[in-house]
């Protein structure tokens, strides 16, 4: 079915929350107000690794205006166990230890204690009076150092390596021996932050009836519910989480930081308590996503067929186990059909905040390595880099080293769209000055996307509209992309559907807004709930008309000569049996993975080493673009985050583990002046496992930009960079021997 056979899908209606968000009326977490609200402030570690010898809150508790002070000792000390509360399998002690340190601090910025007071000023002053005595320990800041013998150990035992993933198929060693060309290179990437503009914020009221009410900015209200109830040793039903509007997340607002602490403060004070992170807290106490060291070796025959590949990936886990290397290991060669592969990935503890997902977590690092090596192979073989990729592209039936075979995927179609794009054949143009050099690079990338449960309820109004409730926080227009799928089924315009994101008491369990799953899975639930509505309304029409069978198409119910629009029949609900409420829940296992690619033109100033992005084209397989503007927006946003990752962003740590650039001035995210327009081309290879063919588009777009830019810089200056970020000093240094 082509897009044009749909009435709603593929159109670009205004979003339902648009007016609220352009007038300042939308309530984000820090905007939430409540009578009797207390303001909280936290004490955070000034050391990257230290034993907590003493935490004395006496003076803070006596400070005027202070109502409650809490430390890790205030948590119920339940026995440790492994839980999976939406962030993967984690010991409770790690979740608890990350929100308030006990015994030891593991990174600078690690929360130690919190104060609630009648004003923010009082809370902040009182927090300064909390006395913390540290016994500093040596710290370790990169995966490579942390894996070395004799490295300081974060959690005891005999190693900082918390997991080793190993995937293999065929015999890569033997295959290398028969390759015409073998390239092996080592790459490193800096730790980077998700960089959402809204700092974390939460308000909690531990009510007098024993129920805990939470209002917060989160990608997953049910994750917050489950973590809060787990850490406070309450049944899940005792906690109600209302997600406010959310100012960006990108994976970094899946972990729970503030809510359990605010809950403790509320329990002690008997009043609602709000905690808000400062920007420094965000950098030092949330996120980031792992820095990494990767060694990738690939071999090809003389025709450019990739025959063998090996990868060694060491990713920072941060302070607790459970980093992003698993996904990195699954994605590192996913774009290619290579018979012989060996992949080893290591999750390594370092004295940095516990790492969090960031848009296709783990994949951009790996793709930077793989796509750089593939580029080098193409150069050596004098092959067009897209032609080489096309020759090796994964397609339906291609087996990945981690086991599964691809179902229908759009890797080939994405590469073909890149080849056919006018950008790819356009001239680069003359450099803007004598010291400048221009180059073009390409890269491709893959991300799985996930399934997980979603629920949706649709109630029909007598005026022919419908109210749709769901539990997926809307970070980028998903109220509308979900409602559009219901509208398509119900045959009504999407502005007749009023979508609402509701609290955890009001809707069935819904997984995080993450993994590119919201339009896919919650949209699927909306599709099914809308079908449930139509099924019930057909029965109403049958009753009204005394008809055997009622047909429904394009918003019209019909039996023989008789017909009625959706709105007309909705007006007869009360006489045909009362309200019509449709509902559905889904739990798709896996989702249709998405391939994406970029074409990047750069100009490098060989004097300063500064790279300017001249032109940038992003191509991605959306499966089906429900709302093309929002798909483009995801592609553009992911591209620019990738540009920042490539050229500037990094945690700049001193040897003591102190972040030296914990502000938006010094952690240089791209501004509007740093980037050109981002051209987009949506490819649609429908996902056979979704009613409308949706694949999910949030993440794959960030995977290839760093590699594409690295390849463009190589094209411009003739030197390849092996470390991210490729900032001006790094580029200048790389050219050092060259100029």
């Amino acid at each position: 079915m082509s897009t044009s056979s749909y009435n709603v899908i593929g159109t670009r209606p205004p979003r339902h929350d648009g007016a609220d968000k352009v007038t300042g009326r939308a309530i984000y977490a820090a905007d939430f107000q409540m009578n009797g609200l207390l303001h909280g402030a936290m004490v955070r570690s000034t050391h990257a690794h230290a034993i907590l010898k003493r935490v004395d809150t006496t003076k803070a508790a006596a400070f005027p205006g202070v109502v409650a002070v809490v430390t890790a000792d205030d948590f119920p000390q339940t026995p440790d166990r492994i839980v999976d509360l939406g962030e993967g399998e984690t010991p409770v002690s790690h979740l608890r230890g990350n929100v308030l340190a006990k015994g030891k601090v593991l990174y600078q910025g690690h929360a130690i204690a919190a104060v609630a007071a009648t004003s923010l000023q009082a809370a902040e002053q009182a927090a300064k009076l909390i006395e913390v005595e540290y016994e500093p320990l040596p710290c370790v800041l990169t995966a490579v150092e942390a894996m070395a013998a004799g490295a300081p150990l974060l959690h005891g035992g005999d190693t900082n390596v918390t997991a080793h993933v190993h995937h293999a198929m065929g015999d890569s060693e033997a295959a290398f021996a028969g390759a015409a060309i073998v390239i092996e290179r080592e790459f490193t990437t800096a730790t980077v932050h998700q960089g959402y503009i809204e700092p974390h914020a939460a308000t909690v009221l531990w009510n007098n009836d024993g129920r805990v009410n939470v209002w917060c900015s989160t990608q997953g209200s049910f994750v917050v519910r489950d973590v809060v109830s787990c850490l406070l040793d309450l049944p899940v039903s005792a906690v109600r989480v209302t997600p406010t509007e959310i100012g960006g997340g990108f994976g970094g607002k899946i972990p729970v930081y503030l809510e359990p602490v605010a809950a403790l403060l509320s329990k002690k004070s008997g009043r609602p308590v709000r905690l808000v992170m400062s920007r420094r807290d965000v950098f030092e106490g949330s996120g980031p996503t792992p820095g990494s060291m990767m060694r990738v070796k690939m071999g090809a025959d003389a025709d450019g067929k990739l025959i063998a590949a090996q990868a060694f990936l060491a990713y920072e886990a941060g302070a607790y186990a459970g980093g992003m290397v698993g996904a990195g290991a699954m994605c590192v060669f996913a774009a290619y059909d290579i018979a012989n592969q060996t992949i080893d990935g290591y999750d390594v503890l370092v004295n940095k905040p516990s790492t969090a997902a960031y848009r296709a977590p783990g994949a951009p690092n790996a793709a930077f390595a793989t796509e750089s090596v593939v580029d080098e192979i193409a150069r050596k073989l004098k092959m067009d880099p897209l032609e080489l990729r096309l020759r090796n592209a994964s397609r339906e039936g291609t087996r990945r080293a981690d086991g599964p075979k691809f179902r229908r995927v759009g890797c080939v179609e994405v590469i073909e769209a890149m080849q056919a794009h006018p950008h790819y054949s356009a001239p680069l143009g003359e450099p803007s000055h004598a010291e400048a050099k221009r180059g073009r690079g390409v890269a491709i990338g893959y991300w799985f996307n996930i399934g997980l449960p979603s629920s949706c309820v649709i109630s029909v109004n007598a005026d022919g509209t419908a109210n749709l409730i769901e539990g997926s926080t809307d970070i980028g227009g998903t109220r509308t992309s979900i409602a559009m799928q219901a509208a398509e089924v119900m045959g009504i315009p999407v502005d007749r559907i009023h979508p609402a994101v509701v609290d955890t008491d009001t809707i069935g369990y819904t997984g995080v807004t993450g993994g590119s799953r919201t339009t896919y899975a919650t949209g699927w639930a909306a599709h099914d709930a809308a079908q449930d509505v139509i099924r019930q309304m057909k029965l109403r029409a049958a009753k009204l008309w005394q008809a055997e069978a009622v047909e429904f198409a394009d918003g019209v119910f019909q039996a023989g000569e008789r017909q009625m629009t959706f709105a007309e029949l909705a007006g007869k609900m009360s006489e045909t049996g009362g309200p019509v409420v449709g509902q559905a829940s889904v739990n798709p296992r896996g989702a249709g993975g998405s391939f994406a690619g970029v074409i990047a033109d750069v100009e490098v100033d060989t004097g300063t080493g500064k790279t300017t992005i001249l032109r940038f084209t992003a191509v991605q397989d959306a499966g089906r673009a429900i709302h093309p503007s929002y798909v483009e927006g995801q592609m553009q946003g992911g591209s620019v985050q990738g540009i920042g990752w490539a050229l500037n962003e990094e945690y700049w740590m001193n040897p003591e583990g102190r972040m030296m650039n914990a502000s938006l001035l010094d952690y240089r995210m791209p501004t509007i002046l740093d980037v050109p327009m981002i051209d987009t081309q949506i490819v649609e290879v429908p996902n056979p496992a979704h009613p409308f063919g949706v694949r999910g588009v949030g993440e794959a777009n960030i995977v290839s930009p760093p590699a594409g830019i690295a390849n463009a810089i190589r094209d411009a200056i003739g030197v390849r960079l092996y470390h991210l970020p490729m900032n001006p000093p790094a580029v200048a240094a790389a050219m050092g021997g060259q100029k």
Partner: protein, 161 residues
């Protein structure tokens, strides 16, 4: 410390409030006056989400003290629409999908309005230069530039009509 009495014009209406000496205008707007449309992304002048107009000049309200607003005129995102009618920038941001999460949007709209009030037909380069202090992490800026261009065009056409 004693609070200071402040009176100012806020979105066309007189308001009076008490400010702590160290409270920023941003905190006074949000916490005291409960106008939470102006956002705090950094608190140190580097994200632009707290942009307001102070006596007709674009400022980051996290770098202005509440007491400095005494006797002055402040316009926030809440004062941009004309009653029920959205400002062309507000409408263009919706129509051109120039917001995703929307946290940066009030700052961008206030800042872009300050530009269009002075320069009805800015080039793309000029728009990018003017908005360089406003960070958006979601959109990649493409659709923001296009929305500002579209709003500028609409305002020019409205004026001619």
């Amino acid at each position: 410390m004693k609070k200071t009495y402040v009176s100012m014009q806020l979105n066309g209406e007189p308001v009076e409030f008490l400010a702590e000496p160290s409270q920023t205008l941003l905190e006074c707007l949000r916490d005291t006056l409960h106008l939470t449309g102006t956002k705090e992304g950094c608190g140190d002048g580097n994200c632009g989400s707290c942009c307001v107009m102070l006596d007709g000049t674009l400022v980051t309200s996290c770098l202005v003290l509440g007491v400095e607003a005494e006797g002055r005129t402040v316009t926030t995102i809440e004062g941009i629409a004309a009653g029920q009618k959205l400002h062309p920038l507000q409408k263009a941001f919706i129509d051109h999908a120039a917001l995703q999460c929307g946290i940066c949007t009030p700052g961008f709209i206030v800042a872009a309005k300050a530009l269009l009030d002075q320069e009805p037909d800015p080039s793309e380069e000029r728009i990018r230069l003017w908005l360089a202090n406003n960070l958006c992490r979601c959109t990649g800026y493409d659709k923001i530039v296009r929305a500002v261009q579209a709003a500028a065009k609409e305002i020019r056409e409205e004026k001619q009509a």
